[in-house]
């Protein structure tokens, strides 16, 4: 046992004596090369983004450049270590091309994320802007400033809303007004407020519906379309303007309410209405 261990140590020391300089040179070359590639790609990415290229395109260009540079680096390092660099270069190029072709062929059949960086999405209870995606997770920044990493498997298994697929979005404005208010005036005012806002699209036109007749109020439903990016501010502004305009026009909003009748003298049994007691149809039948 002792002899075997000594033999092993001897063999390692022999290898180190013969090849240590090459190994050290190769290692230094690999580390410095990786660092150089990293900083070079970072600089190119910044330059591309400053030139006005979209983040997605600059990211793709940098990724391709990084793969090519890494291939050259590995081949050069292998050459220093004494490997046949030409064969290794051929192998890496063929392998890369094969992967690219396979990805291009099978891309429609691969499960892919239905969004791109920079788009606003809602998945589960999270709403925010996608910052980056990797094979494993998606980095998202919520509108209250939190950065969330979501596993892609969770995104693919949950429902997802992408607010960039369609350019516009409908605003729902449901207003409760009292029964004794002027319904037609309220409809006109609501429609006017929506039309007067420059952000509200002219097609489809804003419309006002009477959506519900509740026990304590009438519900008017204002519907208008706006650009996706202006949805939230437009909705808030419209609500503010509607409230103030209804006050000016003296249209009263309804508050949740219930009428309670108090009877101080004993239990109350309401007498049926006289009109329901008279049944002229029955009388005709008896005759």
């Amino acid at each position: 046992m002792k002899e075997t261990l000594l033999e092993k140590i001897d063999r390692i020391s022999l290898v180190m004596t013969n090849y240590s300089s090459d190994l050290i040179i190769g290692l230094v070359m690999l580390i410095s090369g990786v660092l150089a590639v990293k900083y070079l790609v970072r600089g190119i990415r910044l330059a591309l983004e400053r030139s006005g290229l979209s983040p997605q395109k600059s990211e793709m260009t940098c990724n391709i450049l990084m793969i090519v540079l890494y291939i050259f680096l590995f081949v050069a390092t292998a050459g220093v270590l004494g490997f046949n660099s030409r064969n290794l270069f051929r192998f890496l190029v063929i392998a890369t091309l094969l992967i690219v072709v396979m990805v291009m062929l099978f891309k429609p059949y691969l499960p892919s994320l239905p969004f791109k960086p920079g788009q606003t999405i809602k998945t589960g209870s999270l709403l925010g802007k996608v910052e980056a995606t990797t094979f494993l997770n998606t980095r998202m920044r919520t509108f209250d400033g939190k950065t969330v990493w979501i596993p892609n498997s969770k995104i693919l298994n949950d429902y997802l809303i992408n607010y960039h697929i369609t350019p516009s979005r409908r605003i729902h404005l449901d207003l409760r007004i009292r029964y004794d208010q002027d319904l037609m005036k309220a409809k006109r005012v609501l429609e006017e407020v929506m039309i007067l806002d420059p952000r509200v699209l002219t097609k489809p036109r804003p419309v006002v519906y009477l959506t519900h007749l509740r026990e304590d109020c009438i519900i008017l439903g204002g519907r208008c379309w706006v650009n996706n990016l202006k949805y939230w501010t437009t909705r808030c502004d419209l609500l503010e303007k509607i409230k103030l305009r209804f006050d000016q026009e003296k249209i009263a909003f309804a508050l949740p309410q219930r009428y309670v009748y108090m009877h101080s003298e004993g239990p109350y049994f309401p007498e049926p209405d006289a009109q329901y007691l008279e049944r002229p149809d029955d009388a005709d039948e008896t005759e």
């Binding site: 039309i195 806002d197 420059p198 952000r199 036109r205 202006k230 502004d237 303007k241």
Partner: protein, 106 residues
């Protein structure tokens, strides 16, 4: 009359949608009152009258301050205009409103 024609006529004759809003104001200088807009006429106007009126009110607060360039009552006749330069009614009270009015042109 076709429906499309009727809709166009309604758009022209009923409620006209403004193209945007600007805050109009005038600065008192040695030469008199100098008119300016926010955003400038060479820039895109605000797409919200709520924002425009809020900005107008904030400019009015600046005009009341000790600011040497715009304060001490130097900024007058602050109100909101549409993209055509016509004054817009304040949505909060439905009336034309001018912050820090000044009729004196000298």
């Amino acid at each position: 009359m076709k429906v499309a024609e009727a809709l166009k006529a309604i758009d022209r004759g009923w409620v006209k949608k403004p193209g945007g809003f600007r805050v109009h104001f005038q600065l008192k200088t040695d030469q008199g009152l100098e008119t300016d807009h926010l955003p400038g006429t060479d820039q895109n106007p605000f797409d919200s009258d709520v924002v425009a009126w809020r900005t107008a009110w904030k400019l009015y607060q600046v005009s009341l301050s000790d600011d040497k360039q715009y304060g001490q009552g130097k900024m007058v006749n602050i109100y909101v205009v549409d993209d055509q330069g016509k004054p817009v009614k304040y949505y909060a009270n439905g009336k034309y409103q001018v912050y820090n009015p000044c009729k004196d042109q000298t």
